[in-house]
């Protein structure tokens, strides 16, 4: 049975992630990593795709990781994890070696786009692993290029807010849906502004045998052109404007964890981020309305799935 906490102070103290890494000031990824390493009990091994987290935490000769940690390449975190998982299964059967829980951290780049095939294969084969996408909504480590996770209208270096085309034209890929379509028993969205919710969902995922998928919104002050001190505030507003619904899929049942009855206006979320500044200009009204429609449609879809519509 998964350990569940009620208040923040029940979160374990032991840190398995050390400071001294080179993640940006105000980065929204470490809150996820620290929580995961506390919420997953027992021996564990972490696989990380190439990206911000991998690069900034393992610049030779330094490492921030206090668990076994493997980096292979960019698009193959799920495949590498599958190999580790299968190896420990065999070694456990043949030589009684204790099998650690395999955890994958990959960015939206290494998950939605280049890493999607490896993830799809690993999910279909049913490997016992927790796959966690830390989503900062662009290829941040290479300098803020758009990904399939970039929301409609956002400005990135490959979808700039230009005179003719104001930001990314395409909507954000529906990643949770993709994971659920693979038949995982548990999938959930996470947000750093909701620590207890995050811990409990990770613990729940860890207690399940088989693949589970978690999708975390990682605020990125550098890429989102935001004040680093406001990273958590922005993440909270993502939830309160319904831009980032907090929900879980648990053996066929959808549960919305934070039911936002009266959403804050989306502008409250957008105005704190330079990547959306152009959307608040009158000439880009249409794009803004489309983004709002994306969010509303997604919310209504989830309400229906949760039996609340």
């Amino acid at each position: 049975m998964a350990v569940q906490i009620k208040v923040l102070r029940e979160m374990p103290r032991e840190e398995l992630f050390a400071p001294g890494h080179r993640l940006c000031a105000g980065c929204g990824v470490p809150q996820l990593v620290r929580t995961v390493l506390k919420a997953v009990p027992g021996p564990k091994v972490v696989v990380t795709a190439t990206g911000c987290l991998e690069v900034a935490t393992t610049i030779f000769p330094y490492t921030s990781w206090k668990v076994p940690w493997v980096h292979n390449a960019f698009e193959n975190a799920a495949a590498t994890a599958a190999g580790i998982e299968a190896a420990f299964r065999a070694l456990e059967k043949k030589r009684g070696v204790k099998r650690p829980k395999v955890i994958v951290f990959a960015g939206d780049g290494g998950t939605f786009d280049i890493g999607l095939q490896a993830l799809s294969g690993a999910l279909e084969r049913g490997h016992d692993m927790i796959y966690i996408c830390y989503d900062n909504e662009a290829y941040m480590n290479t300098g803020i290029q758009r990904s399939g996770a970039t929301p409609r209208g956002a400005a990135t270096t490959t979808s700039p807010a230009g005179r003719v085309i104001p930001g990314k034209l395409e909507r954000k890929k529906e990643f949770m849906g993709i994971a659920i379509a693979h038949g995982v028993r548990y999938a959930a969205t996470l947000n750093p502004a909701y620590p207890v919710d995050m811990f409990n969902k990770v613990a729940k995922a860890a207690s399940i045998e088989g693949p589970t998928v978690l999708h975390y919104l990682a605020p990125c002050p550098t890429g989102w052109r935001a004040d680093p001190s406001k990273s958590i505030e922005i993440a909270r507003l993502a939830v309160l404007t319904r831009a980032w619904p907090l929900y879980e899929y648990d053996d066929g049942v959808y549960r919305i964890n934070v039911l936002v009855k009266s959403p804050r206006p989306l502008e409250d979320y957008l105005k704190l981020q330079g990547r959306f500044a152009h959307l608040l200009q009158p000439e880009n009204r249409q794009m803004l309305e489309q983004l709002k429609r994306d969010i509303e449609e997604n919310w209504n879809r989830l309400l229906k799935l949760a039996g609340l519509a």
Binding site: T80, A87, R125
Partner: protein, 399 residues
């Protein structure tokens, strides 16, 4: 290859190259197999799936969704301390190429069977050595099998070499696509207990261990990358003597002696050909015919391609005045095809060296016929007589 004099603990069977490789892998009691089917390797994967599903092999069989994921999974599995195997050909190897460099640099002990097949385009499923050559720089040990017996033996040898604590590098066993992979030949297989003695369970070096947490595959900036590569280069140089040692050990178990460079008639040859893979037999057949007519010709073939047996080959080719290097691939815009460049480099600083001719043959499964080898010897003889090479590159059998 010396005639088997020690038949105790062996059985004579008939198998195709693919079946023989799969059988060796089963006997090696691998822990993890991650492989994706591609002609002409497919039967290796299918046979291994049979063994696992029938309970004859206790391994995790990961039916990966691509070759890139196959090798990626193998890297993870090897780091976890498992004995690991994969197999591929051609496009599959090309797809996993990114990971081959990582597999070597992270010092995995993966063994791969490569059923040599031509690279597209145009698409072709038959034998060329493009795939083997494509990874020659990446730091994998590479063996070439000449027949099914060798494919079997070299697979067992590969596990023994790769997992040796003094080595810790991945290996490839090359077997010519269709020619060896699909041809049924007689061979001797070791009994299971004998293989168990030759290959005890893997004793991993620094495996993933939650009790001893380590970081595998960090970022190394310009202040360290050079040193890591130097360390890898020096470690790779230490592999050669271990291979010789394992070859000698294997002879005790099987009665079959392997050497990095196989020779025929080189003791007194004026001209010779150098060749890899199954066509060496054809070359020797022609050489024997010519020698019976009094012509001093010889054949050298490599069982070990990487590390390249520089000193051994130079020594064995001493006295040869003209050498035809036979390449079953091509390198566009290069000073020669791949093996030609290897040989030219091997002789670079030798005061005495043979004239070199590059013969391109057998691409895409085109048969190497005796008359092609005769042409090769003839050109070598002409060059030796004239004291120079008129035509450096010749394509045998092309219309």
């Amino acid at each position: 290859m010396s005639v088997a004099v020690q038949l105790k603990g062996q059985r004579r069977v008939g198998m195709s190259g693919n079946e023989a490789v799969a059988y060796a892998v089963k006997q090696a009691d691998v822990d993890v197999i991650a492989a994706y089917p591609i002609t002409p390797q497919t039967i290796i994967v299918e046979r291994l799936a049979d063994y696992v599903h029938d309970g004859e092999l206790n391994a995790s069989f990961i039916a990966v969704e691509s070759e890139h994921s196959a090798l990626s999974a193998c890297v993870g599995a090897s780091l976890a301390g498992a004995r690991v195997f994969t197999a591929t050909s051609s496009q599959g190897l090309a797809l996993m190429w990114e990971i081959t460099w990582i597999a070597s640099a992270l010092r995995t002990t993966i063994v791969m069977a490569l059923a040599n097949r031509a690279l597209s385009a145009p698409i072709n499923i038959h034998c060329s050595h493009d795939d083997a050559y494509a990874v020659r720089d990446a730091g994998w040990i590479q063996f070439f099998a000449e027949n099914v017996q060798e494919a079997y033996d070299l697979t067992l040898i590969a596990f023994r070499v790769s997992e040796d604590k003094r080595v810790q590098f991945p290996s490839i066993v090359n077997l010519d696509g269709f020619v060896l992979s699909h041809s049924l030949e007689p061979l001797y297989v070791l009994e299971d207990e004998v293989v168990k003695e030759l290959l005890p369970p893997k004793e991993p070096v620094n495996p993933i261990d939650p009790e001893k947490p380590m970081t595998y595959g960090p970022l190394a900036l310009f202040d360290y990358y050079l040193e890591f590569k130097k360390a890898q280069a020096e470690a790779f140089k230490k592999v050669y003597p271990v291979i010789l040692e394992v070859f000698r050990e294997y002879e005790k178990f099987s009665g079959r002696r392997y050497e990095p460079v196989k020779t025929y008639g080189l003791e007194d040859a004026d001209v010779a050909v150098l060749i890899l893979g199954s066509s060496a037999g054809t070359a020797r057949y022609v050489a024997r015919r010519l020698r019976n007519k009094g012509e001093k010709v010889g054949v050298a073939s490599l069982t070990l391609y990487r590390p390249f047996p520089v000193e051994d080959l130079v020594a064995k080719l001493k006295g040869v005045k003209a050498l035809v290097v036979m390449d079953r691939s091509y390198s566009f815009g290069s000073p020669g095809a791949q093996l030609f460049m290897d040989v030219a480099a091997a002789f670079a600083n030798e005061s005495e060296r043979p004239l070199l001719i590059n013969a391109i043959y057998g691409l895409g499964g085109r048969d190497l016929l005796p008359e092609h080898v005769e042409e090769a010897f003839r050109r070598a003889q002409e060059a030796a007589k004239a004291g120079r090479v008129e035509e450096r590159e010749v394509w045998l059998g092309v219309r």
